[in-house]
Symmetry: D2
Subunit: 386 residues, 4 copies
Amino acid sequence: MVRIDDPVITAQVLETRLGGEKTLEIPLQSKLTPSALDLLRARGVQVTRRDASPSPAPAPQPASRPGGKKEFKGIFCPNIVIFDGKNEINYKEMERYIEWLIQAGIHGLYPNGSTGEFVRLSWQERQDVVRLICQVNDGRVPILAGASEANLRDVLKMAEFYASIGVDSISLVPPYYYKMSNTSLFEYFAEIARNSPLDILLYNIPQFTQELPLDLMEKLLPYERIMGTKDSSRDLPRLINTMHRLRAQRPGYVVLVGCEEILFPSVMMGASGGTIATSGIIPEVIVEIYERALANDVERARILQYRVLDLINLMLLGVNFPEGFKTGVAVRGFDVGPPRQVMSGEEQHYLLKLEAQISCVLSDMGYSVKGPRACPVTQLPSIVSR
Amino acid sequence: MVRIDDPVITAQVLETRLGGEKTLEIPLQSKLTPSALDLLRARGVQVTRRDASPSPAPAPQPASRPGGKKEFKGIFCPNIVIFDGKNEINYKEMERYIEWLIQAGIHGLYPNGSTGEFVRLSWQERQDVVRLICQVNDGRVPILAGASEANLRDVLKMAEFYASIGVDSISLVPPYYYKMSNTSLFEYFAEIARNSPLDILLYNIPQFTQELPLDLMEKLLPYERIMGTKDSSRDLPRLINTMHRLRAQRPGYVVLVGCEEILFPSVMMGASGGTIATSGIIPEVIVEIYERALANDVERARILQYRVLDLINLMLLGVNFPEGFKTGVAVRGFDVGPPRQVMSGEEQHYLLKLEAQISCVLSDMGYSVKGPRACPVTQLPSIVSR
Amino acid sequence: MVRIDDPVITAQVLETRLGGEKTLEIPLQSKLTPSALDLLRARGVQVTRRDASPSPAPAPQPASRPGGKKEFKGIFCPNIVIFDGKNEINYKEMERYIEWLIQAGIHGLYPNGSTGEFVRLSWQERQDVVRLICQVNDGRVPILAGASEANLRDVLKMAEFYASIGVDSISLVPPYYYKMSNTSLFEYFAEIARNSPLDILLYNIPQFTQELPLDLMEKLLPYERIMGTKDSSRDLPRLINTMHRLRAQRPGYVVLVGCEEILFPSVMMGASGGTIATSGIIPEVIVEIYERALANDVERARILQYRVLDLINLMLLGVNFPEGFKTGVAVRGFDVGPPRQVMSGEEQHYLLKLEAQISCVLSDMGYSVKGPRACPVTQLPSIVSR
Amino acid sequence: MVRIDDPVITAQVLETRLGGEKTLEIPLQSKLTPSALDLLRARGVQVTRRDASPSPAPAPQPASRPGGKKEFKGIFCPNIVIFDGKNEINYKEMERYIEWLIQAGIHGLYPNGSTGEFVRLSWQERQDVVRLICQVNDGRVPILAGASEANLRDVLKMAEFYASIGVDSISLVPPYYYKMSNTSLFEYFAEIARNSPLDILLYNIPQFTQELPLDLMEKLLPYERIMGTKDSSRDLPRLINTMHRLRAQRPGYVVLVGCEEILFPSVMMGASGGTIATSGIIPEVIVEIYERALANDVERARILQYRVLDLINLMLLGVNFPEGFKTGVAVRGFDVGPPRQVMSGEEQHYLLKLEAQISCVLSDMGYSVKGPRACPVTQLPSIVSR
């Protein structure tokens, strides 16, 4: 008999500590993740739940706002989706990856965003991804989930589902494909704000869908559910004006920057944090940029921001979004599987080259990268784990 | 007992001819549409199918290409979706509307296009709309259905479903939201072309998603399933180059224009026809423009093209697409119901004004428009039913 | 002694008919062009002007509007500027070229437009080019000259100069570089319309400067000097709406299309004509397209429009505007000299290849093209001089 | 007799110190500005130049690079052009304004940029403006002058003129109106770099002319005359990449930011300084932002950057560029005269309102603003002269 007291028990945990045992005792409140249940079933392990045992150490409480809500600040990792050989979601590897992110100190998780390829998933898959992430997270960090569904009714349906499984807030892009007038856009967000069970982050990403004008964000301020903005527009003047104008009326208005290259300047100008896909590859460095910026440590923050620039460029350019970021995750040792969208042979070849380059950049930063593609030792000083 | 020999029997037909009868005899092959079945159930009518009866007059055969395929030429009506008070699809009214279109002489039907709001429907709704249209049509005109699903696997799944219910061809826009490189775009269409059970129209609509370059269309020509192009770009120089370049290699390449204002010049330059949303409001006039253009009747075609211009502008401008076109259908006497996308009060007010204006323009054309909003009699000569 | 009775006497005329003579008698009103004067000076020829001689045959009168103004319809050739080895304007070759265009049947001349590289010339050069063209033309065809100067005062100064040398109308793009509000744009054109000594064509070319909206054109209609529109936007729906809306208020409103690929459809929809740079290379064919379109000869006009498409594409694409068109003029036997704007070696190489290709296309059309680059004989039927 | 020892003597200086005297003694090297000469002529004052007198105190030397060149860092003020009632340049008021800027501590002057309306001036006017500024400056601060003329030959001619009168460097936008290929764009800048007598700043301003890609800037690095970049694109990710990529190869590469709203973050990321039009209105504050950023004084720099944001927005939005900035200069007590570009009555009215608003914002900052439009006292703490 093995006894494991962790609040969340994953297949990884079991593989390390179960040994050959066939019975397992766990606390009453502990969560077994999907892959853990699979493993237990596969090995025929019998599970008993202790009742009167001393309660496990309480999980660290995330920072909370008055009213018990979690605070939205720091680095939110926009989560990629990992597929298996059959192009189905690989929940086991995703679980391992999400656990790794939390352990690495990420401040929040963000599934079903642009990095999460929400438009390429089915309605069911979008629900399954978020459920898995909520289970693995088990309340440790706040979760922001994209809820931009095909129509208003489905947005609200999804928000209700998210609320039921422990998501903290939703993010919403303007409807894509068709262009709407600004008055209709206002009505769309206002109607959701009136009915959503969760707080809302307005998500501006003019690269992929129509712009969400700052004037319109201001008009939506009276709705309490509107909690803040996530801005991926690469436009710092606009971000600064967003903070200037909206916080004059609502001082706690959350502003997350979604542009990787300007995390440091944005935080230094007052941004609450960022949704930074690169944090899915080098969480420690991105979290450090945020913290150094908060502490006005300009020298170190600037060095870090410039050192991650090449990595960002490699992952963003020359390949369809978000394949570059998934390649980065692969270099960190996760089996990200095939892309869901088709890719030319030429691009597949490029991705292999990219993997080698990313591997080198990570070595340069001080990460120990193993794997088939050797990387020349360089002279750059390490920026990791200082 | 009533006997009805029509190949397709709708609720409308029954209401006219059933009287108070409780038994109905129909030919073995006749189709009862969904609303017909509803009505029969509601009235408790018993249906028997005659076996050895003289076969009904054969339905008029659509023009066919060698190999039994239907020819894609003339006016394809991009079908709107009609919702009811609960924002569910109103199949009964849609059936009545589709039947009306076919009777009016439209050359083809086109569900799940941009006018059909495909991105606002669920997977199930997209299937239901096309099934209903196939049933009402019953093989009378060719059906082109939009199949731009969330990912490649779902596109092929949908294409197979369409093939199973009698759709003739699919149309495909480039994936929306994310931008893809042109090599990936090629791979995307090529992979579908290799596996689709139906012929494919490449659909260019840069207003709503990324452009489908002419070079890429040319590269896709070797795939037999690529049947043609539907171009809604409003760019006649491009349309002319499409015909010039692709027909030099494949003389029968289909080119449908999707820009209402240039139907006549496009057909005169050799376009196979058009997907013209205005044909859902004034099918006779749009069909006549096409026929006059084919016959080189420049004077009449030009008069008609200019006369429909105000109607097109009213429906396209000042209101979110495709609400203007749905308002036009309402003026023709169909209950199009509420929009699925939310709309500001201001815009709802505008739609009422628009309805009155459209009503006037239709009166001007010679249509007898009834309804609450009176329209001043004008001096313009009628263009209808000459 | 030689006597020459032509109303305009060019160096070309003199070279043919002067022989070795040293005295020349010409009518009192005859014009000697700059190159003619050069030649006479160079050879030391003495000129006498006959006074009481029988007047020469009157020059053919151009079509006129009530009030004696020339009619703006048909094909206006946007004139290139020819430079010499020192990058100065080569007036002699320009004169020969302009004379050739008029002889070829062009309906109007159009210097200082986009094709005429007005922004690359100095104030003085812009005046000199137009003066030369007025002199060579000598009233034979109407002249439209671009007058988009650095500021309003200079526009009016240039318009007055143009009026003094016989230009018929000016064309005006919206000011470039800065973007102006539409109300300022209105004020700009209105102020010019109130003070210009010449009629004005509003020139829309959104490829190069900000769009001139149709609403604004409509607001300018009350100004009598606003004579029409020249639209190079490649947007036929817009061109059609321009004619529909503005001619409803001003039936004689001139609309010239500036998009080469849609000359035929535009004229067929009612355009007054076109400013077609290709008419500087194959004037006879472009003029024929216009005339066939006017005559509703759809079959022949369509054939011609498609036959010139390859030539247009060759000249427009792959090379900085307007170098492709200048290369076309070179193929017709004029020494167009070096470009004023610098060009990479790669592009210079491309131009040589382009010259060979244009040469082939012209051969295909039926032109006899001589020169160093041989062209394979093809099977295409000639379209020239039918 | 009055003796004045200043190195530059303006009309202002004379008005204060001349009194009623009719003779003036000045050092041999002193410069009399145009307005000073006018005043002397008007009053009939006789001027004598002292030869052997003790030399005046040397003018403060600007920071210099090895080789005696002035360093390009800090705040360069993009100079407006002031017109008089006849729409001619008002040299007297410009002189007074330029002197005021230099006294206020601006680090450099920048005539004939976008703020300087270079495309609305004649060739002669562009020369006169820069000559006046050089004379007033008299070597005190570095001068960067725009040299984007109509063609390459004229660019070089202007650069030579600038060199002859003491300009330090030129800035160059890509040619406007026409779009050029990137290879031609390279050839254009390379040809100028090979022949220019002055160093060159590559000026990227995609709002007004075609983009100058970073790749192309990198390709131009081997040319010594290419000294740096002035980037007005509002795109901080691009600015950061510019510094990262180009300084890796040329450590002293100058990067000036031209986007007012991000001066502080840009300098903090390493920008050499900025060309900031707002420095023409509140030079002390803008210079302080730069200095605080250099000193890593994040708190104060952030406060200042946010406090100038409203002023920037007022001047940039709602009015044609650069009229808002000229209105700001007017509030500081200079007679900026009428705009050269026409303006609607509506916009003139707006400018009056704007003037009042700017006046309020300046009061809020702590400036004592006098004038006809009273401004309510507010509660904001002063940011001036701390």
